[in-house]
């Protein structure tokens, strides 16, 4: 299977991330600018050195059809290649793949990939289409409702241990406590009992199964490995394999909703990558809800279908463990900066691989698997799925 990233010609040379806050009062434009300042300071680049810009369309500014153009103006960047992705939680990973491809064909050379969103300050999404006509009149809460459906269906088919999900919740909370960028109110310990006793939001989904919207932002700089060396970058990670799928089972009216796009791209990533599943040093999966991580573990192949609970109960997923998972707290404990949320899992992987994760630093961070999930469709599983492998 063709893999345009295999040669390690693409490099990530810097990451930036803001602390998640609730109702910060910032706009996404301001947050994007703050991310840029971090990226430029770390690389000693100036705005005029950036010739490519890839952005995630945010909830807070999606009413502007010229969002990416406005951001370029805010930042003082004159892109020769500009990308605005409406892929929700996979946008950060998708933008790295698109940036690497654009660089390889010569459209640009130094790309800033930024996600910034402020949905807890202002939320302007209006979906229209089938959603306003056939979904919203039922009062179904978007993501929590759909994941409630998904969990109930999973329970009819497989054995689900809520203790296993509780263990994952606690592990991620421990990560958030060690992550200065996590939403401050979440930086307190929880127990498995706290998880089990948390109030239900959309049964059987509990409050501690779920993310909470914050305002925040994150980003990376992607360039060629050759340019990275020339500019004297001391720390580099290479995206080495990527797979993406949207509208999974899109033409099916009655698919199994517990089957996700990862059932396609999970097997595919192992064909594209030189790494085998046992080589993966850390897993930074997109985590809007805990059950989503379990489905990914199963469908990417860390364990079999229905074995996610056993796997979580029997595996050390802490930073010192066999398979560290969402070491910075993930979005569930660190906060979800709106549709920039997918970048949180990504930036944690890069930070770990740069050896800059402080007290939650894992040993030998030679590679990482990062994933994304985006968009909730009508009566099926989630819409978009993506997997990115990073290697040093």
């Amino acid at each position: 299977m063709k893999n345009f990233l295999k040669s390690k010609d693409s490099a990530i040379v810097a990451y930036g991330e803001l602390k998640n806050e609730r109702r910060s009062g910032w706009t996404a434009y301001e947050l994007a600018s703050q991310v840029m300042s971090q990226l430029l300071e770390k690389t000693s680049l100036r705005p005029c050195d950036i010739d490519g810009l890839a952005l995630t369309i945010p909830l807070s500014e999606c009413s502007n059809p010229f969002w990416s153009n406005f951001v370029a103006d805010y930042l003082g960047i004159t892109p020769r290649w500009l990308q605005a992705s409406d892929l929700g939680g996979i946008s950060a990973l998708a933008n790295i793949a698109r940036a690497a491809a654009a660089i390889q064909v010569g459209l640009c050379e130094m790309v800033m990939v930024i996600g910034a969103d402020a949905p807890s300050t202002q939320h302007r999404a209006n979906y229209g289409g089938y959603r306003s006509e056939f979904w919203e009149p039922t009062g179904l809460q978007g993501p929590p409702g759909m994941f409630g459906f998904l969990m109930n269906r999973y329970i009819t088919k497989y054995k689900l241990s809520f203790e296993a999900l509780g263990k994952l919740a606690v592990a991620q909370r421990n990560g958030a406590i060690m992550n200065p960028n996590a939403y401050e109110k979440n930086r307190v310990p929880i127990t498995v009992a706290d998880y089990l006793n948390a109030r239900q939001v959309s049964s059987p989904l509990r409050l501690l199964d779920s993310v909470m919207y914050c305002d925040g932002g994150n980003g990376v700089i992607v360039t060629t490995t050759e340019r990275a060396r020339r500019m004297g970058a001391r720390k580099i990670v290479h995206p080495t394999a990527y797979a993406e799928i949207t509208n999974f089972n899109g033409a099916q009216m009655t698919p199994d909703i517990t089957e996700t796009g990862f059932s396609v791209i999970g097997p595919e990533i192992w064909q594209k990558s030189d790494l085998a599943i046992g080589d993966i040093r850390m897993f930074q999966p997109y985590d809007d809800f805990l059950i989503a991580e379990m489905l990914q573990l199963e469908q990417i192949g860390f364990c079999g279908r229905g074995e996610g609970s056993e796997f979580l109960l029997n595996t050390d997923i802490s930073p010192a463990g066999k398979l560290p998972i969402n070491t910075g707290g993930g979005q569930i404990s660190a906060g979800q900066p709106g549709l920039a949320g997918g970048g949180l899992n990504l930036v944690e992987a890069v930070r770990q691989m740069f050896g800059e994760a402080g007290e939650r630093q894992i040993k030998d961070p030679a590679n990482a698997m990062v994933t994304g999930i985006g968009v909730i469709p009508y009566g099926r599983n989630w819409g978009s799925s993506a997997i990115l492998i990073l290697e040093s």
């Binding site: 006509e133 009149p137 809460q141 409702g145 409630g148 459906f149 239900q200 939001v201 009566g379």
Partner: protein, 139 residues
Amino acid sequence: MSERQHKPSRPIPRPCRTTAPFWEAAKQHKLVLQYDPDTDRYQFWPRPASVRTGRANLQWKEASGKGRLYSFTNTFVAAPGFEERVPYLVGIVELDEGVRVFSNLVNVAAAEVEIGMKMRVVWETLSPEIEFFAFEPDR
């Protein structure tokens, strides 16, 4: 911005040209579905063309209004306009015609709901123009 000046009301569908026949039939309490004659299959929600062939030759056919519960959730945090109904049940009903619909589950207590149970359509008046479908147990 999250503070609302006015109490939100339950969203009411605004038909488009493709979906207008669905809502016209709904006024007569008929649940109609798009039927694809090329593949002998139904689809929902209504689209301008068949998701299987891409052809715009779909026909409207009345459905039985019966099906089985595919999954459900009991909602404790209200969507805007549903504050007074909390907690309320929403389900995915798989119709006998082989499509799924999102629907409120009515005339049933949360403790009685079971995946796989037989369901039948009932209608709720949302506005003078819109009758909206819900499902109740088909006992």
